[in-house]
């Protein structure tokens, strides 16, 4: 088989540069930390700036007001968002919801692409692509039900709601103001979750017979979450390496102690591998390769754990300071741990791979 390109094109590197500059400018870790105390002011202006770069429409064809780019570019954006623990609804709206709407011909796609509107798919954030999809009920064209721990709901003005329609599943669009949204105290407040209830809410079908479409949207989310995780892991490695070069104990940099060197060498290998796994997941997704589900689950099984390990090592090797509120390491530990559960745990993806690659238990 001919290998897919796992490197970055010059265009992708330019995109990375723009996103990184913007995040350095507008996403400082103190502002992000304040989200844990309920101050979410950083979100709106940051998201606005990102949409002005056209990022919300990366996956949307140009004739539907998007950029006509691919999952490869979205993955680069997510690496940078992970690296900054950025609190924006790119993954939930511009990847998951957008991928779903791409399967229909809804007029709602264009305003999503421009950033005019923001959407969230109403499923629990822990839902794996191959899990049973919870659905609300419909009666007389009105939707009723509760979906718990939804990501991106707080940032969205539009919900995509799986609805049990006969023996199948349809996805309806519901205006957020028609729903009751209860924000949850979340392990990762930079992606704060919410329970969402609709009670006889009006909605319109945007994708009918939608089960496979929802699964594909979740799989796109899982494939690209791997890039976010690679970015989280990269920040943890880079920051820790810089710290141990600088931090002196016993009259020398602690980064010169061999036990730490070996752990960081192993972590480096893990982070490089996570980057390759994420790249493959994005490349197969970008060209609708039949191997895409294997790529997504492999990357989730691997990167979910690597990001957690990287964040745990960052805290441990920063020692005392890494345990404090004032150092940003905790933002990455919480993001990594929540990301490990998001869209299916690594164990869940391994179990899925067993079926996909023919290694049954």
């Amino acid at each position: 088989m001919s290998d897919l390109d796992l490197l970055y094109s010059d265009i992708e590197e330019d995109l990375r540069g723009s996103v990184r500059d913007l995040l350095e400018d507008r996403c400082d870790s103190d502002a992000v930390t304040r989200m844990y105390d309920g101050d979410r002011t950083v979100v709106e202006s940051l998201w606005k700036s990102l949409t002005e770069l056209g990022l919300a429409g990366l996956l949307v064809p140009e004739d539907r007001d998007g950029q006509g780019a691919s999952a490869r570019e979205a993955a680069v954006v997510l690496e940078e968002l992970g690296r900054a623990a950025a609190p924006v609804p790119f993954l939930t709206s511009s990847v998951v919801a957008t991928t779903l709407l791409l399967e229909g011909d809804s007029d709602l796609l264009a305003p999503l692409a421009t950033g005019e509107r923001t959407a969230a798919l109403l499923v629990p954030w822990s839902l794996a692509p191959d899990a049973e999809i919870p659905a609300v009920s419909i009666d007389d064209d009105r939707l009723s039900g509760t979906v718990s721990t939804v990501a991106g709901a707080l940032e969205a003005d539009l919900f995509l709601v799986p609805v049990a329609a006969g023996s199948g599943l349809s996805v309806y669009a519901v205006e957020a103001h028609e729903a009751s949204i209860v924000p949850l105290v979340s392990l990762d407040m930079t992606r704060q979750l919410a329970d969402v209830t609709v009670d006889a809410a009006p909605g319109e079908v945007v994708v009918a017979d939608a089960e496979q479409a929802v699964r594909r949207a979740l799989d796109a989310g899982a494939a690209l979450l791997a890039s976010e995780q690679a970015g989280v892991a990269r920040w943890c490695l880079d920051t820790t390496v810089a710290y141990v070069k600088d931090r002196k104990q016993f009259g020398r940099p602690v980064g010169g102690f061999q036990a730490l060197k070996h752990r960081l060498a192993d972590l480096y290998a893990g982070v490089e591998s996570a980057a390759a796994a994420a790249r493959y997941a994005a490349a197969t997704l970008a060209q609708a390769d039949p191997d895409a589900p294997v790529g997504a689950s492999t990357a989730q099984a691997f990167n979910g754990d690597v990001a957690v390990l990287a964040a745990e090592e960052a805290v441990q090797l920063h020692a005392g300071i890494g345990m404090t509120w004032e150092h940003p390491a905790h933002l990455y530990l919480k993001r990594a741990k929540a990301d490990q559960i998001a869209l299916g745990t690594p164990g869940r993806h391994r179990a899925r791979l067993a079926g996909l690659v023919g290694l049954p238990g």
Partner: protein, 390 residues
């Protein structure tokens, strides 16, 4: 148990009805009768007996419904300050400090760690300068638990920066009510502030509150730390602590179980059970008078198992694992490592391999003191502290 000792407790209880006395009066009387810590000398709360006899004495008092000295409120005082004062204190210091320490009337904290002196504790930069019969102390300490409730602190400060780092320190007993002592909460990744930063500005300590000789601070501090490190925990039942919490969730929530999590849980069950047995064996060795630095391995194992179990629990809970109880900045009166929710346990357990000696430092100790492997190259060992890299 020694029947003479049993009789002595019985006689004391006959003369002092715990139900009829004020709590503090009862505790003071128990101290004066030598039944506070029987391995301490006569006159300082003890009878000069073996430490192994103490749990039975405590049990007899407990069975009689007597109040205890709330050891959980004063762990630094009882576990670290008291044995150090006993070993290095003058008679006047023992008379002044030990009784109110044991009764809990005076709670203690520890002012050792600094931003630049964590694992390398001998690197303390807080200065104490002699001024007549007093010492004037300036500096910043960190990771001080209970500082906001403490009356006294054990304090390590640099008194001569022209000597190599290990030789220029002195150990003091510091009054936390001194106006130069500023205690500020230190918020942690859990959201709460269990610890403090303590800023010391022209704090004046009488020379009579110096413990040990000038320049002997490192030796005294090591005696304190050895008391911390040989603490191998109490005899524990199977599935106590973090394992019990996760095992309960497992039993109550069959819907959450997966083969992957099952095997990981069983591995950790085995690890925790074997750690429990290892602890039992170490306590049996200690009781036979064979203590050793191998106790350091207990804390290594405890931290690893607690971290892996709490990480597993968050994954096991899945959707529910994405919740958190409360990020509000509070100052907990009492820290329950197993308390609150899975997310809290996960984050809090990260401290287990840092506080009280990082796992990296403990591995060095085991490698060098137990296995006899060569020490690290020490670039700063023989040069004046002020000239060493900070």
């Amino acid at each position: 148990m020694n029947s003479q000792l049993r009789e002595r407790v019985r006689d004391f209880l006959a003369d002092h009805d715990p139900r009829a006395m004020e709590r503090v009066d009862f505790l003071r009387a128990r101290y004066d009768a030598g039944l506070a810590w029987v391995h301490f000398p006569v006159g300082h709360g003890g009878l000069g007996l073996e430490q192994a006899l103490q749990p039975d004495v405590d049990r007899l008092f407990r069975e009689a419904g007597a109040p205890d000295n709330r050891p959980g409120v004063n762990p630094i005082g009882l576990g670290m300050a008291a044995p150090t004062i006993l070993a290095f204190g003058s008679d006047a210091q023992k008379d002044r400090f030990l009784r109110p320490l044991w009764t809990g009337e005076e709670v203690w904290c520890q002012l050792f760690s600094e931003p630049g002196a964590g694992s390398d504790l001998a690197n303390v930069a807080t200065r104490a300068v002699r001024d007549g019969d007093e010492w004037v102390v300036n500096g910043q300490k960190v990771w001080t638990s209970g500082a906001h409730n403490a009356r006294f602190a054990i304090l390590l400060a640099r008194t001569d920066s022209s000597l190599p780092k290990h030789f220029g320190m002195t150990y003091f007993l510091c009054d936390m009510t001194d106006p130069g002592v500023d205690v500020r909460p230190l918020r942690q990744i859990t959201g709460e502030a269990e610890f403090n930063e303590v800023f010391l500005t022209d704090v004046r300590i009488p020379d009579g509150q110096r413990l040990g000789d000038v320049g002997e601070g490192w030796k005294v501090a090591n005696a304190t730390l050895n008391n911390e490190r040989i603490s191998i925990g109490k005899s524990a039942d199977r599935e106590s602590g973090m394992l019990g919490v996760v095992a309960s969730t497992w039993r109550e929530r069959p819907d959450l179980r997966t083969p992957d999590l099952h095997d990981r849980l069983l591995r950790l069950w085995v690890d925790a059970e074997v750690a429990r047995l290892t602890g039992t064996r170490l306590r049996q060795k200690l009781a036979q008078g064979q203590p050793g630095p191998e106790g350091s391995t207990m804390k290594l194992g405890f931290a690893r198992i607690a971290q892996q179990l709490s990480g597993l629990e968050v994954e096991l809970l899945g959707e529910k694992g994405l919740h958190y109880s409360d990020w509000t900045m509070v100052r907990p009166g009492h820290v329950d490592f197993n308390g609150r929710d899975a997310g809290y346990r996960y984050l809090r357990a990260k401290g287990n391999s840092i506080e009280g000696g990082t796992s990296e430092i403990l591995r060095n100790i085991v490698a060098e003191r137990v296995l006899g492997l060569p020490g690290e190259h020490r670039v700063d060992k023989n040069i004046p502290w002020k000239e060493s890299a900070k």
